[in-house]
């Protein structure tokens, strides 16, 4: 199943999640819509940073439980709901990484293979490409990897990523530029073992 990244709202546009957030603030049962919308993305963020499914499940669970507990305190004051949610995920991730003293994702190769309903030849090429890309991703410094995952898995804008990571929009763009340059060089050199 593919996650279609939700388009980031442009500057000045209302947060598309706001109606669901208001509903969840009135009735917690309405949080289910936000949970279903963001489970894949939060999980993807955790998994690509932790490199382990069990750890990713643990941090995802903590993130949603914390978000539900704090939903009444969310105010639409600049940051979108999803930037707020990913900020919670980011803090939970930082706690997990600190407590487990895990510096780098070591098992990104264990990501499940792509669905098998596509054509086999194209699928083989795509799976190979995905494997080498995941290895290359594992070679990025943490801050660049976070930007890549938040941008390409979660579909956040540079502004939203800045809100999540506590950096300026410009700094996020520079990190994205460096990450893509490093990834392109790793892929062009035929493997992530080379240094960039």
């Amino acid at each position: 199943m593919s996650i279609e990244p939700r388009r980031a709202p442009r500057r000045g546009e209302p947060d598309p999640d706001l109606a669901d957030v208001r509903a969840a603030q009135r009735d917690r049962a309405a949080f289910g819509a936000l949970y279903r919308r963001y489970l894949d993305r939060v999980y993807g963020y955790c998994f690509y940073l932790l490199g382990d499914h069990h750890d990713a499940e643990d941090v995802t669970e903590r993130t949603f439980v914390a978000a539900l507990a704090a939903i009444d305190g969310y105010r639409d004051e600049g940051a979108t709901f999803r930037a707020w949610l990913f900020r919670i995920a980011h803090n939970q991730l930082a706690n997990a990484l600190r407590s487990r003293q895990r510096q780098r994702a070591a098992s990104l190769d264990t990501i499940p293979e792509l669905p098998t309903h596509a054509d086999p030849a194209g699928l083989f090429g795509l799976a190979e490409e995905a494997r080498s890309l995941r290895r290359a991703l594992g070679r990025l410094p943490d801050d660049r990897r976070q930007v890549v995952v938040l941008r390409f898995v979660d579909g956040l804008s540079a502004r939203e990523i800045g809100a999540v990571l506590g950096r300026s929009e410009g700094a996020v763009r520079v990190l994205q530029h460096r990450a893509l340059r490093q990834l392109a060089a790793l892929l062009a050199s035929g493997g992530p073992g080379s240094t960039v």
């Binding site: 289910g32 507990a69 795509l126 994205q176």
Partner: protein, 115 residues
Amino acid sequence: MTTRPTTAERLDRAVDAVLAGASAPGAAASAGLNPADRALVEAAATLRATLATSLVAPRFEARLGARLSGVGGTPWILRHPGRLIVTGAVGSAVGVGVTAYAVWRSRSTHRLLHR
């Protein structure tokens, strides 16, 4: 005077276009990127195609969903206090009835034994 966008800003625009479904060459050209930077947009398109895959186990999704509805929701009985009173009253009546029956049974057994 307008300032020319930096390479990082132009690349970000191209990434926006790629995430919206544009082809890598088209996104790079419309963002005004140098040919040397177009490989970065190709890398962005590859990322979009390969990373955006759902990884969540259905069992985990169901379990967490159930936990969240438990955390956020009020137990059913507390949402209907009237029903709580009725349930309590019925429970008490049944308890009184069972006790009265037990007392009556023990007395009649006792009487039969001492007749």
